[in-house]
């Protein structure tokens, strides 16, 4: 089985209202060195080894559903696991 970790973040060009608010809060707590906060999503997929083309499938899923290419970017890491 494969464990795939998917990270989805807003594109650099898109303002992140949540991140901006969290950054302001951190600054007001005294963490004045924090210059930017971007909030994203983390997903873990468990995929069986029978998958025909892992990379292609993961990319397709990311582009069709897991992220919205209009405003978001994605990256992923694949970890191979021994079957349970």
């Amino acid at each position: 089985m494969y464990k795939v970790k998917v990270y989805v973040t807003l594109k650099e060009s898109v303002l992140d209202p949540q991140g901006t608010t969290v950054k302001r809060s951190l600054n007001s707590m005294g963490y004045e060195d924090v210059q930017d906060v971007r909030i994203g999503k983390y997903m873990e997929l468990t995929i069986s080894e029978s998958v025909a083309n892992l990379d292609e499938t993961v990319k397709e899923m990311c582009e069709r559903l897991l992220s919205n290419p209009v405003i978001e970017d994605y990256t992923y890491e694949v970890e191979e696991r021994v079957a349970q």
Partner: protein, 227 residues
Amino acid sequence: MKFAVIVFPGSNCDVDMYHAAKDELGEEAEYVWHDAVSLEGYDAILLPGGFSFGDYLRTGAIARFSPIMKEVIKAAQDGKPILGVCNGFQVLLEAGLLPGAMRRNESLKFICRPVGLRVENNETMFTSSYEKGEVIQIPVAHGEGNYYCDETTLASLKENGQIVFTYENNPNGSLENIAGIVNEQGNVLGMMPHPERAVDPLLGGADGLNLFKSIVKQWRESHAVKA
């Protein structure tokens, strides 16, 4: 004229949409569950507001893959009027029937109040009963209505007159005060404010009624029996 009101798990403005079409316009209307596979016999499709699939992942992201959406896309290609309000708009964006995407409101707050909307384009099948530049009062109720698109898309929206409604006082940070847009063909309208909640003075206003009347007017004109 026969309206379909699409109902997703989590839709909550479906009854208001139905009421607008059936009781206010006096037209035929039926609820269509999201896993139906046909929209045969319907003349217009209404996608209501709410929180389809709990807004999981992104607003509208899961609903966009409901079985009925294949038929909605087909109806859009056939030129039938399709109106998506609030979550319905978000579903249309996710489905690629309209360009752009929604971000969280700038304030991060859920905003629920009447707002002034300017009719930027009254030459659409949804707005022909309004005056150009008319300001109407329609309620908004959303947490993610902060419309975004890239510069190229914005330029083409402007060039084609696809920006139909703008906010008089931007409540959510939306790009260029955009509240509602149509597709290039002009038969798919998405808007964050709720015209179906403003169809009777008893409910605080009836400024939304002309939107539904415009749809019927256009349909009657295009289906008139030629003498």
